[in-house]
């Protein structure tokens, strides 16, 4: 998986931007707000689980896009997409 390629060309200024970019690539951009909120919290979470603030760095993109792909692929929304 090349996380940077998945979100290439997309705005990644906020955690929700990251969610929307990956969701669009997986064909579930219409996922309901509660689901996107879960994913947004994941993108914002630090390793210790506390809430942080998303920063668009290559390391963060690699880390969180990988995780988002796993989560979205196992989501009910993706299964019914």
């Amino acid at each position: 998986m090349d996380p940077a390629a998945i979100v290439a060309g997309k705005p990644l200024d906020t955690a929700m931007d990251v969610v929307n970019a990956v969701a669009e690539r997986l064909g579930i951009s219409e996922a309901p707000a509660p689901s996107k909120s879960v994913w947004e919290r994941y993108v914002s979470a630090r390793d210790d689980g506390t809430r942080g603030v998303w920063q668009n760095t290559p390391a963060n993109v690699d880390r969180k896009v990988r995780g988002l792909v796993h989560l979205m692929l196992t989501s009910p929304e993706f299964q019914f997409a």
Partner: protein
């Protein structure tokens, strides 16, 4: 019968799709749990599928019938090594472990099992055995129908399990989602391994995303609750595995590993009523003798280890194992030192509740059909029905249809 994607996902097998997309995560789970005090709740049925069409004649050998070695001059088992059962039939010499279970009164042999107009296709015949419906009009498996009638609503996500890469159709149910996995390590949500520090965040998000409230009409709730149950049951299973020390030495085979896993689940006492294991390789068209003997030895030794393990844990009394295979083999050997697809086969019931004995007449090798096949004697639905009625305490006629005589091979009063 076609099933569209939405319907497919709305039913139990749908979750296999998730497993396929995210390797190693066998999503599963059942529904909302309340205490179940069914009469059969403490009984466990272990179904062992011998896939490929096991050769019954080289398994339980009519060694006193001269026609046996006439038909099988090169692959037949000489009488001298056969492990006698009743003076006329005996087990293959490699099945010493099974013989010891027989000697202990824990084995019933059911002979000549098949159905009217037997089908010789692996796929079709397996479907027939899975559904217990030679017309193939029934979509659900026969134990899936049992689960719908008896396990739905228990909420126990481990009420039935398949030790398998995918859900066998036998367990396909409308209302109970049954997990399938090949190891406890494989039965988990796999986080991305590139960033271990982020793994717990992924697990937390996985649980959260599958705990959202959806409109029940969309089907999303079913997928979500199943995924959530799967995560919960995978944690439960991992806890079981952590402290388990087998009470016997299992053979280092896939079957040995699978039955060891079954024992872990049984001893763990999580309320599992049905366990399903598939062991393949029985389609022995060529060089059968060596290959088949190896398979039979593996089966025999693994089953013995399984019951030894349960005995050591004082957990064998409520366990019954049944075997099945989609067909037997043709009586005459072929030109490749093997046998081709046949009809009637032999099955085993193993456990304390098995009424030791041989059910069905000795194979009549003098009256083969025009294709060189045995005549079948016992409809496999009688075999299933006996287990359902006398072990699972279920409505066998309701699940299989009426008219299949009880074989008497299960001690109903046991336990």
């Amino acid at each position: 019968m076609t099933i569209d994607r939405r319907e497919f996902l709305g039913r139990s097998v749908g979750l296999v799709t998730i497993s396929a997309l995210v390797p190693r995560f066998g999503i599963a789970g059942a529904r909302f749990f309340e205490e179940s005090v069914e009469a059969a709740a403490d009984r466990v049925l272990v179904v062992l599928e011998l896939a490929g069409g096991n050769d019954g004649l080289n398994t339980v050998i009519p060694y006193t019938d001269a026609l046996y070695l006439t038909h099988r001059a090169r692959i037949g088992v000489p009488a001298a090594g056969v492990l006698d059962l009743d003076g006329r039939l005996g087990l293959n010499p490699v099945m010493g472990s099974m013989k010891s279970l027989w000697d202990a009164g824990r084995v019933a042999v059911v002979q000549g099992v098949s159905y009217p107009s037997p089908n010789l296709s692996h796929f079709t015949s397996r479907d027939i055995w899975h559904t217990a419906d030679p017309r193939l009009a029934e979509r659900r498996g026969w134990l899936g129908r049992y689960a719908d009638a008896n396990l739905a609503g228990t909420g126990n996500s481990l009420s039935a399990c398949a030790i398998s890469q995918s859900l066998p159709r036998t367990l396909l149910s409308d209302s109970v989602v049954i997990p399938s996995f090949t190891s406890l390590n494989a039965y988990s949500f796999v986080t991305d391994g590139a960033n271990p520090g982020d793994s717990q965040n992924q697990v937390n998000a996985f649980v959260s995303q599958n705990s959202l409230q959806y409109e029940t009409t969309t089907g999303l709730d079913r997928v979500g609750s199943t995924a959530r149950d799967a995560q919960r049951s995978s944690v439960q299973l991992r806890q079981l595995a952590a402290g388990y020390t087998p009470g016997a030495t299992y053979p280092a085979t896939s079957l040995g590993n699978a039955l060891r896993l079954c024992a872990q689940i049984i001893v763990g006492g999580v309320g599992t009523q049905i366990l399903y294991v598939t062991y393949g390789g029985f389609d022995n068209h060529s060089n059968q003798r060596a290959d088949h003997d190896t398979l039979l030895r593996n089966v025999s030794d693994a089953i013995k280890a399984f019951f030894d393990d349960l005995d050591a844990k004082n957990a064998s009394r409520n366990v019954l194992m049944m075997t099945w295979s989609e067909f037997g083999r043709r009586v005459p050997e072929n030109g490749s030192l093997g046998t081709d697809h046949g009809t009637a086969g032999v099955q085993f019931l193993i456990g304390g509740a098995a009424n030791r004995g041989i059910y069905g007449e000795r194979p009549n090798l003098a009256a083969l059909d025009r294709n060189g096949n045995l005549s079948w004697q016992i409809d496999f639905r009688s075999y299933y029905g006996t287990v359902l009625q006398d072990w699972m305490r279920a409505d066998a006629a309701g699940i299989l249809g009426a008219g299949y005589p009880n074989l008497g091979c299960v001690n109903r009063a046991f336990v």
